[in-house]
Structures are given as structure tokens and as C-alpha cells.
């Protein structure tokens, strides 16, 4: 092994001393390996749909803590930590191997070549951090290619709602919810639906709305189908749901049950819930309350009905006994029952499925909430594609900006780096002051970096005095970058490029990155000359 590494080291020293002295013959393969690990290994491991659609039996799943999201976020954090660590490690090594003191022979554009190699290295280093999410989505979408993921996602939401509605503890409320839904549907179907589902999950999903503009009615529809015993419609949704799960190794817990059987079972469960002792008990309580309620009680109930806390002071999940909520439930008006239905369907905690059970031998019981969430990522959309393009361009451009660190590490002493950082920090308020003085216009602003670079040229090339040369060059370069970014931004605005289009994206970070590369190429000979100046 040692012989191999020595041979590799020697080969690079002889063929490319530039890469060798930057230690990139070790760190570039390391960065490539890093990309391979993340895009091959990590994405390969995480982008397995079955993993994210199930959870162990008996465990409720919270909407804010989905394993898929958590894992992706953890992957992103790990990617940043490792990329940052690798960059620091490289900087430490390259400073140890820093040869600039020796004034080894170098061509005029040698620094630029170093910069471009550094940009490649940093682009590889940053790629997993910037592209991980896009790569994951892309992989998932490829895996689900050919599937009607939007319909499957819709079906998963229906299943989740049925499971919530038909939970045994909701039997009493189901009576009222059905009445409220029917009343709304009868009164003003479109307004009611839009109102009740204003914050519905499917409404939050822009892509979903694009696919199905009528999705706002879906939540009510779940209840209507049950109320109308529309087993065909329910079976169709269950078939979609089953197709999504069956594709990844999930199987019904009750083998042999068709979608139609399951639909029938759901309708039966609904009817059984309405006839359950709890529902009966609720009806009795309600009748008794109607008979005995005094006018002052009704006024109190009306006030309670206007209270924003209405319906939330009694949580079945907390009290465990739905009867404990009867008192507050009795005070609800029909409109409050509508809100109650809304919040019930929106609740973040999804209990384990009881009626529509699919299981995976490894990943446990399929959770309709998780299935819907996963399918959301699997559904392609214009917005996701724009985000993806933007990520790719950001990763490609990131290297160009990060590689400026290479120039600093290669050329400057720690004291000079500190001076440059200080000057950059002071430049920010100075530019603000220019703005306050009304001098921050398109003519005056480019003059600042131009003047700095001209001063650097005079000092280095004409006067051959190094003092301040590095700071002037660095400051000029940094402000030029800010200037070029501003110019490109204005150009994009002037051209009125459509949002998310390639030209619009290209005039962002990539244009500034190319400007950076050109600027470094232009300054490279001057910087080389500065390196050779006495008393530097």
C-alpha cells in the first residue's frame, strides 16, 4: 500500500508539480470519494421508499418529526460538517506545504491555474452539501417514474382521514361531523369546502393543487363517501394506496382482502361507529342538554362558542375518555363543529392504522401520513425542477468563490489575511456611507474597486513596493465581485427574464463565478509580481 501511495505521489510530482504542491493529488480523489459516498452510498441508502412509508406497529407518527425529513436533514448537516472539515484539513496541509517562500518557478498564469484547480476541488467538496436534497428528490422521482404519484398521494390522505375519523374515541363526534359536513355541502358547497380546508395539507402543497385544483374538496369527500357508503369510490382510493405500497414490498395484513372488501369494511366501521354505545350516549346527552338548558346557559354557551379556545379545552387524546369532553362538546354550535372537524383532520399526530393495514417485513406498518408525505416528494413539479437547477448552478459556482480561500492560503501570511479581513469588514460601512452620501450609483460604485486595483498596479508594477499590495488586490477583487454581482443582477432585471428559466438562473451565481475566474486571470500576473517583490 505504501509503495502504491509513494508511486502515486511521485507520478504527480513529476507530471504536475502544481497539483502536487497543492496536495490536490490526494484531496481531489478524496473529494471525489466524498461525492461518491454521498451520492452513491448515502442517497442509495436513504432513497428507498419502503423505508420511509412505515413505522413499527403501535407507534404514532408526528407530522413534524418524519423519519424521512429527519434523516435528510441529518445527512445535510453531516455533509456540511465533513465538507467544512475536509476544507480545513486541506487548508492546514497546504499551508504546511506552502512553497511560495521558495519562489519556485511559476508561469504568469500559474496562480490562475491553481485557482481553477482549487475551484474544482471546492465544487466537489460543496456538491454533496448543496445538491444532496436535489439528488435525493431526483432519485426518488426516478424510482417512482411511471406511477401516478399524485393520485396515490391523494389516496394516502384519504386513508389517513378515514383512520382519524373512524378512531373509536371519535365515535361521538363523528355524528356531529357528519351533520356539519352535510350541512355545509347543502348550504354552499364550494365556499364550505374552501373554508374548511383552508389549511389542509393538500392545499399547502402547490404541486398537488396544480395537479388537482379540486383537492380542497378531498377532505370533505372522505367523509361524504363514508356517509354515502360509496364503496366503489373508496375502493378506488384504496387500490391506489395499495398500488403505491405493494410496489415496495408492503402487503395487506389481512391477506386476500380486495380493495372492495376493505372499502366495505370501512363503511361498516363508519356505520358501526354511528351506532356504537358511545355515539348513542352522546345523542342521549345532547337530547338531555337540549331539554334542560336554561336561557342563561345558552348565553354562556354562545359566549363559549365565540371563545377562541373553544373546542380545544377538551382533548380526547389527553383525557383518554371521550365522555369527559361531552360538556364542552355540547356547547359547540354547528359552525364550531365544522372547525372541530377541520382541526381533527389536521391533527399532527397520526395514530397507527387500525382499518387499512399494510405491513412490510422490515419496516413495519405502513403509515398513511408517511406515505402521503413521501409521495409528495416523489411527484415532479415545475417548482422542484427550478430548485434543482438552482442547486446545481449554486454547487458549480460555489467552488469558484470558495477557491478564493486558496489564493489567500497560498499567497498571504496570517497577518496579511487578518489585514485583508479587517479591510473587507471596513469596506462594508464605507460602501454604506457612499450610499448615504448619494454616491452609490452605477458609475461611482465600480470606481471604488477600479481605483483600488489601479493603486495596487502602481505600487507593485511601477513603484515595486509591496506594502499594502496584497490588501489592495484582495480588497479590489472582493469589491469587484460585489460589483459584478450587482451588474449581473441589474442586467437580469433589465432583460426581464422569466423566473426560474435557465437564462435567469445563469445570470445569477454562475455569471458572478465566471466574472471571478476572469478577474483572477487578469490579476494573476500582478499577483505573481507581488510575490517576487522585496520586503513583502
Amino acid at each position: 500500500m505504501r509503495r502504491l501511495t509513494t508511486a502515486w505521489d511521485q507520478w504527480f510530482l513529476m507530471h504536475s508539480p502544481l497539483l502536487w504542491q497543492l496536495r490536490l493529488h490526494w484531496y481531489l480523489p478524496l473529494a471525489l470519494l466524498w461525492c461518491l459516498l454521498m451520492f452513491g452510498g448515502w442517497i442509495g441508502w436513504t432513497a428507498e421508499p419502503a423505508r420511509w412509508m412505515g413505522s413499527p406497529e403501535g407507534i404514532a407518527v408526528a407530522a413534524w418529526n418524519r423519519p424521512e425529513d429527519t434523516t435528510r436533514q441529518a445527512g445535510g448537516i453531516i455533509a456540511w460538517i465533513i465538507a467544512f472539515g475536509l476544507a480545513l484539513w486541506w487548508l492546514w496541509r497546504v499551508r504546511i506545504h506552502n512553497r511560495w517562500r521558495e519562489i519556485a518557478p511559476a508561469p504568469r498564469l500559474g496562480l490562475w491555474c491553481e485557482y481553477l484547480w482549487g475551484a474544482l476541488f471546492f465544487a466537489l467538496l460543496l456538491a454533496p452539501t448543496l445538491l444532496l436534497d436535489a439528488a435525493y428528490r431526483d432519485r426518488i422521482q426516478r424510482l417512482w417514474q411511471g406511477q401516478d404519484t399524485a393520485a396515490q398521494q391523494q389516496a394516502a390522505w384519504h386513508v389517513r382521514r378515514w383512520e382519524l375519523l373512524l378512531a373509536p374515541d371519535n365515535a361521538a363526534r363523528l355524528v356531529e361531523w357528519t351533520q356539519a359536513a352535510q350541512a355545509m355541502q347543502a348550504a354552499e358547497p364550494s365556499t364550505a369546502a374552501a373554508e374548511i380546508h383552508d389549511n389542509d395539507k393538500c392545499n399547502e402543497n402547490q404541486r398537488y393543487r396544480e395537479y388537482d385544483p379540486g383537492c380542497a374538496t378531498n377532505a370533505l369527500q372522505s367523509l361524504h363517501w363514508l356517509a354515502q357508503a360509496d364503496t366503489d369510490a373508496i375502493a378506488q382510493q384504496l387500490a391506489h394506496y395499495g398500488a403505491a405500497l405493494g410496489r415496495w414490498g408492503y402487503a395487506p395484513v389481512r391477506p386476500g382482502a380486495s380493495a372492495q372488501d376493505q372499502a366495505q369494511q370501512l363503511v361498516s366501521a363508519y356505520q358501526a361507529a354511528l351506532q356504537s354505545p358511545l355515539a348513542q350516549e352522546w345523542r342521549n346527552s345532547k337530547a338531555q342538554h337540549a331539554r334542560t338548558a336554561q336561557p342563561q346557559d345558552r348565553a354562556r354557551d354562545a359566549r363559549a362558542a365565540q371563545s377562541p379556545r373553544d373546542g380545544r379545552d377538551c382533548d380526547v387524546a389527553v383525557s383518554r375518555d371521550p365522555r369527559a369532553c361531552f360538556a364542552s362538546d355540547l356547547a359547540r354550535s354547528p359552525s364550531q363543529w365544522r372547525d372541530n372537524l377541520h382541526s381533527a383532520l389536521q391533527q399532527h399526530l397520526s395514530p397507527p392504522p387500525r382499518l387499512v393495514q399494510w405491513a412490510h417485513p422490515r419496516y413495519g406498518m405502513a403509515q398513511p401520513g408517511l406515505v402521503a408525505h413521501h409521495l409528495e416528494g416523489a411527484t415532479p413539479s415545475q417548482r422542484a425542477q427550478e430548485r434543482q437547477r438552482s442547486s446545481v448552478l449554486a454547487a458549480a459556482s460555489g467552488g469558484f468563490f470558495a477557491a478564493l480561500a486558496l489564493i489567500a492560503a497560498r499567497l498571504l501570511s496570517l497577518r496579511q489575511i487578518a489585514a485583508l479581513c479587517g479591510a473587507l469588514t471596513l469596506a462594508a460601512p464605507a460602501l454604506t456611507l457612499l450610499g448615504v452620501a448619494g454616491l452609490a450609483n452605477n458609475i461611482m460604485l465600480p470606481l471604488v474597486p477600479t481605483t483600488l486595483l489601479a493603486l495596487a498596479w502602481v505600487r507593485i508594477a511601477l513603484l515595486r513596493r509591496p506594502w499594502g499590495g496584497s490588501t489592495l488586490l484582495g480588497l479590489g477583487l472582493a469589491l469587484s465581485l460585489a460589483g459584478s454581482a450587482s451588474v449581473w443582477d441589474e442586467a437580469a432585471r433589465a432583460l426581464e427574464l422569466p423566473d426560474g428559466s435557465w437564462p435567469e438562473l445563469l445570470t445569477g451565481a454562475p455569471a458572478v463565478a465566471v466574472s471571478t475566474a476572469l478577474l483572477v486571470a487578469a490579476l494573476s500576473p500582478l499577483w505573481r509580481r507581488w510575490r517576487a517583490l522585496p520586503e513583502r
Partner: protein
């Protein structure tokens, strides 16, 4: 000395070049280090295949047990010598000298450098060093030796005067890559030592196997082979300086500038380094202009072709000062108490007497010679711990009147 080696040494032909004769002589005297040094110097400009033969001999030499017979060692040296001689015989001398960058005369005239802090001014100084020559810079601390070296290394810009390195100064970067300056405290080398040396050679155009061979020969020439696998921090000051020297040599500089190379070296290391510097500067194939500063006056005087004495930033002409000092000067140490010694010195011809710690320096104004002084001392029974004739030494310039 090993008698076996003398017996096995083959007489050199009459037309043998001086370096071969020197090698043969050292070989005959059993001076292995000297023999290898001369041979390795000669091996630097020869073709790659011959260098590989020399390195093979070196490897075999290193593999020999400590008690290996001298004849075996001599045989190995003879094999290498024959190969190098053959290469020199078959290759035109012009080809040999053209392998590296041509050394040039370095000349500075009217050099002045002013420092505002400390209000120190160096110069005006005139310096001239030809290839194959060594200029020694001497002077007390803070008198401008390092400043002058840094001016010559283009590390400082003169406030007045001109420096001609014999190379174009239009591209200052290219110029600096042709100058080798080794400061008194070199920067530490990170990573492997061999990497640094190979990179230095590679940067100056030596590639492939030739690179490896050249580096191996140079480190062998400077007796660094046992330290190839060491880390920088494991090296003593002397070996650090030698590695710096090896790296400088691999860049084939126009001029080699060394600041206090003898500092922190023991007496043996000083002698070895000076002898190496002398032979490297005067190499018949790649002579080099060499400037070194040092406090070791006597050691510098041994190897330098010229000595520049700096006092308060100004050069003092050694010849003129010596011309003013007509008589001889003697430095000595004795255990006699001051009154007795003064009484005895009072009996001697006219002179000045300075005391520097336990060292006495007597400078005679007339024709008194060192032999006369020594004779008087023996007659008086003066117990002498140390005595040195410094009549022609710059040491006299350090004596405060």
C-alpha cells in the same frame, strides 16, 4: 589509516583529471568521506545511467557491515570512480557544464539601505563575487551582514545603488527563483524531507528518474543519506542547515547566500560544512558565487577568497587597515595575574595591549615578529593556554582601541 586501502589503491594515470587524482589520493589514504565527496561532486553532471551506477555503489556501501575490510570498500569506490571517469572521458566537458544553469558574477555597487526604526544605515557598500569564489561577511552583531545578504537575495530593496545578478531583472519572479538565500533560522519543512528536495529539483526542470538520482546524489554528497526518512523537527541545527543547502543546490542558483551557516554547529560540523561549501563553490562543472556571513572569523578566513568587514553598516577595507597596522598582532591567554603580565609586557618593544575577557591581544608597532614574542614568553616562563598569530586576520579589526 587503513593499510589495506593503501595497498589496494590503484595508481592514477598521469593524464587523470585533478578530481580523479584527489579521489585516488583520498582513497589511498583511507579517507572514505573525502573520496566519496570528490566522486559525488564529479557524478552530478554525468549522464543518468552513470549516476545510477554510482548510487548502486553507494547502496552497496551502506549495506556493508561496520567491520567490512577496507579492500571491499576501496573496490566499491573504484567501481564508481571508473564509471564516473569513463563518463567524463566520453562526454565533452562543455556538455557537462551545460547541464545546469550557468553561474554568473554578482555585483553590487553603492548599495545603501536605511532603516527608520533603529536608525541604522547600511552602506554604501560595493560587493563583487565571481563564480567559484567565496565572499565572507564578517562584523559584530547588528552591523549589517544580514541586511547585505538580503539585498543580494532581492529580499530587500536598496535605497540607493545597483545590483547586477547577471540575469535579467525584468521578471522579478524569475530572477528570485535563481537566487538561493538560506537564512540563519530557516522555516521548518512540513511533511517528508525528500518531498521538498524532489520538488525543488522538479521545479527547476529535473524530471523522472533523473530527479530521484540527482536528489540522492546531492544528499549523499552532503552526508544526509541516513536522515532521508527523518522529520524536520528530528534534525539538529547542523543537519537542518545541510538540508537547506541540499535544496538550494538542487535549484542550481546563480548565487548562494548563507546567513550564519556555522551558528549552532559544533566544531566538527563547522569544518565539514565549510569544506563542503568550498568544494561546491569551486566545482569545476558548476562553479557558484557564494556569500556567507559568520562570526567564526578564523573559519571564514580559511575558506573565503575575500572577506568584507562591516562596522556600523560601513565596509572597512581590510587591506588598508592592515597596512596601517605595521607590526604583528598576537592573541593569547595566560594564567598570570594582570599586574605581573603588565610588568612583563612593559619589557617588550612598543605595543598596544587590549584585554577581552581572559584573552589578551598585543599589537606591536615595530618589526617584532611572533617568533620574537614567543621567544620572550618562553624565556620569562609565561604559562600560555592559547596563542594565535592574528597579524593577517580580520580579528584585529574587532579589537577596540
Amino acid at each position: 589509516m587503513e593499510n589495506n586501502a593503501t595497498a589496494s589503491a590503484q595508481p592514477a594515470p598521469a593524464h587523470a583529471p585533478p578530481w580523479a587524482l584527489a579521489t585516488e589520493h583520498a582513497l589511498g589514504a583511507g579517507q572514505w568521506h573525502g573520496a566519496w565527496s570528490t566522486l559525488l561532486d564529479a557524478a552530478l553532471p554525468v549522464p543518468l545511467s552513470v549516476q545510477q551506477q554510482v548510487l548502486a555503489s553507494l547502496d552497496a556501501w551502506d549495506a556493508l557491515p561496520a567491520q567490512a575490510p577496507a579492500a571491499q570498500r576501496a573496490a566499491l569506490l573504484h567501481t564508481a570512480l571508473a564509471a564516473v571517469r569513463g563518463a567524463h572521458h566520453h562526454t565533452h566537458s562543455a556538455t557537462l557544464t551545460a547541464t545546469g544553469r550557468q553561474a554568473r558574477r554578482v555585483q553590487g555597487s553603492g548599495l545603501v539601505k536605511r532603516f527608520r526604526k533603529g536608525a541604522f544605515t547600511l552602506g554604501p557598500v560595493d560587493v563583487q563575487v565571481a563564480p567559484g569564489h567565496i565572499l565572507g561577511l564578517v562584523g559584530e552583531n547588528g552591523n549589517g551582514k544580514t541586511t547585505l545578504l538580503r539585498l543580494l537575495a532581492a529580499d530587500l530593496a536598496p535605497d540607493a545603488g545597483q545590483i547586477d545578478w547577471g540575469a535579467t531583472a525584468r521578471d522579478p519572479y524569475a530572477l528570485r527563483s535563481q537566487l538561493a538565500y538560506i537564512p540563519q533560522r530557516p522555516h521548518p519543512w512540513g511533511g517528508r524531507l525528500m518531498d521538498h528536495l524532489q520538488f525543488a529539483a522538479r521545479s527547476h526542470g529535473v524530471v523522472g528518474e533523473a530527479n530521484r538520482c540527482l536528489v540522492e546524489l546531492v544528499i549523499a554528497r552532503l552526508s544526509l543519506r541516513p536522515f532521508r526518512g527523518h522529520q524536520w523537527k528530528q534534525l539538529s541545527s547542523g543537519y537542518k542547515m545541510r538540508f537547506e543547502l541540499a535544496r538550494a543546490l538542487l535549484t542550481q542558483p546563480c548565487v548562494l547566500l548563507l546567513d550564519e551557516p556555522l551558528a549552532n554547529l559544533d566544531i566538527n560540523a563547522q569544518q565539514t560544512l565549510l569544506s563542503d561549501l568550498q568544494s561546491l563553490a569551486r566545482s569545476p562543472w558548476r562553479p557558484m558565487a557564494l556569500v556567507l556571513s559568520s562570526q567564526q572569523l578564523y573559519e571564514v578566513e580559511k575558506v573565503a577568497d575575500a572577506v568584507l568587514f562591516l562596522e556600523h553598516g560601513h565596509p572597512r577595507s581590510v587591506q588598508e587597515r592592515f597596512a596601517q597596522m605595521a607590526g604583528c598582532a598576537i592573541e593569547f591567554e595566560t594564567s598570570w595575574p594582570e599586574p605581573i603580565l603588565s610588568a612583563w609586557l612593559g619589557q617588550l618593544p612598543p605595543h598596544t595591549h587590549q584585554v577581552n575577557g581572559h584573552t589578551h591581544i598585543v599589537s606591536f608597532q615595530g618589526d617584532t615578529s611572533t617568533a620574537d614574542f614567543l621567544r620572550a614568553a618562553v624565556d620569562a616562563g609565561l604559562p600560555l593556554g592559547y596563542l594565535r598569530d592574528i597579524t593577517g586576520s580580520t580579528r584585529r579589526l574587532f579589537v577596540k582601541d
